[in-house]
Symmetry: C2
Subunit: 491 residues, 2 copies
């Protein structure tokens, strides 16, 4: 099928950019770095949101909404936080436009200058902790377990659809706890919730780990993360959960009275995933024919395409198709019956392959006669004829089978592309020839991490939590190390 | 019960402001005019969103997401649109902060000035129609039925929680059609969807109508609206749906090839409801004891409060309560069992009355003995004892009964506060003494409308669609009129 899609082996990056646009997921807008998420892409994001939201609620969190704007002064209150975000933020300075004197257009009204500039939130710790000061007085008010679905803005210079955009959509959880232990448990819990979602819904395997100091969130004492591996051997950070200690509580003076009546600072976490997950989903499963979607997140799990030459055939085929659609729907499957007469079956086959619909059912006049349908799997690109009365059972089984197959393929890829190395030479060779995760010993210093990054562009993706202690020597400096860490080039 | 809540008769406006805060719905933030929507308030908004989203999808719409920022030049392309929004918009002029030279704080980096200022969207017609130009080529691409859930910013000088805030949450539908007739049908359909939602879920009766020319949306040829009446006799515009003609298609050059191969401009609609609906919900039903929520939108429809003096009693009561919670949940009711030992029953009664939970069930040791519970209705403030094995049936029935009762009360109030007048004298007297909707003849001119507004603060809320033709004379000028219109003071 000619889809005019660059292949992955030709140019992975170009393949990705083209696929996002051709599969109708998103496109660039007239505003530098800001994307438009198209209905089909947004439909997938909505499915992600719904599952994550359910998981957050099941773990006791509630949603709320905080202002888009953050006064500049709030930003300065937590030192490392402002360093992390000040260099790339959108600043509101005025609140009115007016007609210019020549009457030729509109200009910013210089008289409508704000006393204090407002920053469009790049993340909401500061505005939220300014609010929590009012909400937390006593141990009875804790824990405070809140999540927000919102848009945020980070003025990135180089942007790519879903992966890095000036504005993106995300959720940010912000919790307050009475003890350090509880806050750490929360941060770990949310990393596990993310891993559960990404593995079981997106079918993307992840490594859970801790970030090295220099990769931590601005203001965090510890950043937990989940790291996934894309088909081009580059890693993608799929979610982070931060233990913030008492940094924000101190910056915003949030104290509580303990049961014993003492005043103590509150302990905090924050955690987030974003529309970046769309990038991870696309790059993990898709192929040279287009998008491949796991059934749990596919807006349409099955598409039925009728094949006919005349009205009589259309009526006969349509009857079978509608009946099948109803039966599949009753079994809880999301089915689209594409009976448009403006497009030919071949065009439709192509379209749904490009859009990653997990199962395609084609019904023609011969199928009506024989009581069969042609069923095609998107993940394996295989086809078979199935008796009409077995379709529901078959498709129901395929939903699980395809979901598992995608996950397994991704795990296999990752296994093949995770290499243990013991020397810096070997490290560079593997990175150059094969990519993927490289497991190596590191001396734990920022200097060595920086050196590796400057010389190879690889960074420490995480210190795996499941990693066993193993005495060794740093591949660069030879200094002692007690555990291997994962390096990779990353998105 | 002392709730320290100002009563409605003392000061309606103060009552509203206090109630929003005390019922944990929302509060003001440190950012001028921007509110924080608290978890309880957001829980209600989420229920509204879910129903509306379902209704939009059932009428064929899909969600998408467009940029937060709008280049200033886009704004100028539709003349009346820019006039309507330029005077109250947040303008982004820079994209970076830096440490100031004294090292004392952070300042806007003058070198990071944007070439073109960006407006934080007050509404998205311009950015969306700039995008539609790329999406619409042929009649096959139409209709385009898209909705967006988003935050918008209008730099209002006088703000009030939910009713008028600088930032608010809303949905905005933007559709494109091949013909004028289809676009008008869409605008009317969405007015009807809004009316259905507001009446059947919020239990708030509305009048469907058309806006007079001067009250129309900036850029619309016709604005359909739904108008509700609050308990203080003031009207509240609960939703609007605009027929935009070809104004935006012309401004952004969006043409399509007809079946016959001609190039024509596309016809447009846009429609929206916002967190303002929260204000309408609160002001329609609530009383001097606090919030009153219709069951369909209440985050908790039932709360169970245990009454006990010792552990033994708590165990016995708790067992009945948990069993009842499980049975009510199985019947699809949202039930909270408040077994906190940090608060007394009296405090809890007060709290849930303030928060408008439709039904409260209290269970004490005597109830355990007798097999009863005490059941209290929030809407009527009545109590009764009910046999435990009849609770599910009773509560299920009450969900419908309370929903209907709230709607009926609101309809009755509106009927009592809708007055027909035939002279301007009478108009002023009714407005002064009674308020409410005033139905009167108007000569159809902007001048008369303006005069009434300046002299009485009342505006034309709408020209009712269900209104019958009736020959008469304008109450102000005596000129002929063919239909009565509805006047009121409005939020």
């Amino acid at each position: 099928m000619a889809k005019n899609l660059t292949t992955r082996s030709e140019d992975y990056s170009k393949w990705y950019n083209e696929l996002v646009i051709k599969a109708d997921l998103a496109e660039n807008s007239g505003v530098r770095g800001c994307m438009v998420i198209k209905p089909y892409g947004f439909g997938i994001w909505e499915k992600m949101q719904a599952e994550l939201d359910r998981m957050f609620k099941e773990t006791g969190h509630q949603n709320a909404y905080f202002p888009l704007f953050i006064p500049k002064s709030y930003f300065s209150k937590e030192a490392s936080h402002v360093d992390g975000f000040a260099k790339e933020c959108a600043v509101v300075t005025h609140y009115r436009l007016k007609n210019d004197e020549d009457g030729k257009g509109i200009v910013v009204d210089p008289e409508a200058k704000l006393e204090e500039e407002l920053i469009v939130r790049p993340t909401s710790e500061t505005i939220i902790w300014d609010t929590y000061r009012k909400w937390v007085q006593s141990y009875r008010d804790l824990p405070l377990l809140i999540n927000q679905w919102a848009n945020v803005v980070r003025w990135e210079m180089r942007t790519r659809l879903f992966l890095r955009t000036a504005e993106f959509l995300w959720q940010e959880g912000h919790t307050a706890h009475a003890t350090e232990k509880e806050a750490i448990a929360e941060a770990e819990q949310m990393m596990n919730v993310y891993a559960d979602f990404v593995e079981n819904y997106m079918a993307v395997p992840v490594v859970k780990g801790l970030k090295s100091k220099s990769e931590r969130f601005a203001g965090a004492l510890e950043t937990y993360c989940i790291e996934a591996l894309m088909q081009d051997g580059k890693a993608l950070q799929a979610g982070t959960s931060h233990f913030l200690g008492q940094n924000f509580a101190k910056a915003f003076d949030v104290k509580f009275a303990t049961k014993e009546g003492k005043q103590e600072y509150v302990w905090a976490t924050s955690w987030g995933v974003s529309t970046r997950l769309m990038g991870a989903l696309i790059m993990t499963h898709s192929d040279d024919n287009g998008l491949v979607l796991p059934p749990k997140l596919a807006p349409d799990q099955v598409v039925i395409v009728p094949i006919y030459r005349n009205d009589e055939q259309f009526n006969a085929v349509g009857e079978v198709a509608k009946d099948m659609q109803a039966k599949l729907r009753a079994a809880g499957i999301r089915v689209k019956f594409d009976n448009r007469d403006t497009h030919k079956p071949g065009w439709k086959f192509n379209e749904y392959e490009l859009k990653g619909v997990p199962v395609r059912i084609a019904i023609g006049p011969k199928d009506v006669e024989k009581g069969t349908v042609e069923l095609a799997r998107r993940d394996t690109l295989t086809k078979e004829f199935v008796n009409q009365n077995e379709v529901v059972e078959k498709v129901t089984g395929l939903m699980t089978e395809i979901q598992e197959n995608l996950y397994k393929k991704a795990v296999d890829y990752r296994t093949e592309h995770t290499t243990e190395v013991d020397s810096y030479e070997e490290f560079k060779k593997v990175l150059e020839n094969k990519g993927g995760f490289i497991s190596a010993h590191w001396d734990g210093t920022v200097e060595t991490e920086e050196q590796v990054k400057n010389e190879t562009k690889a960074t420490i993706r995480c210190i795996p939590i499941a990693g066993e202690k193993e005495a060794g020597n740093c591949m660069v400096t030879g200094k002692p190390s007690s555990q291997r860490v994962l390096f990779a080039k990353a998105y």
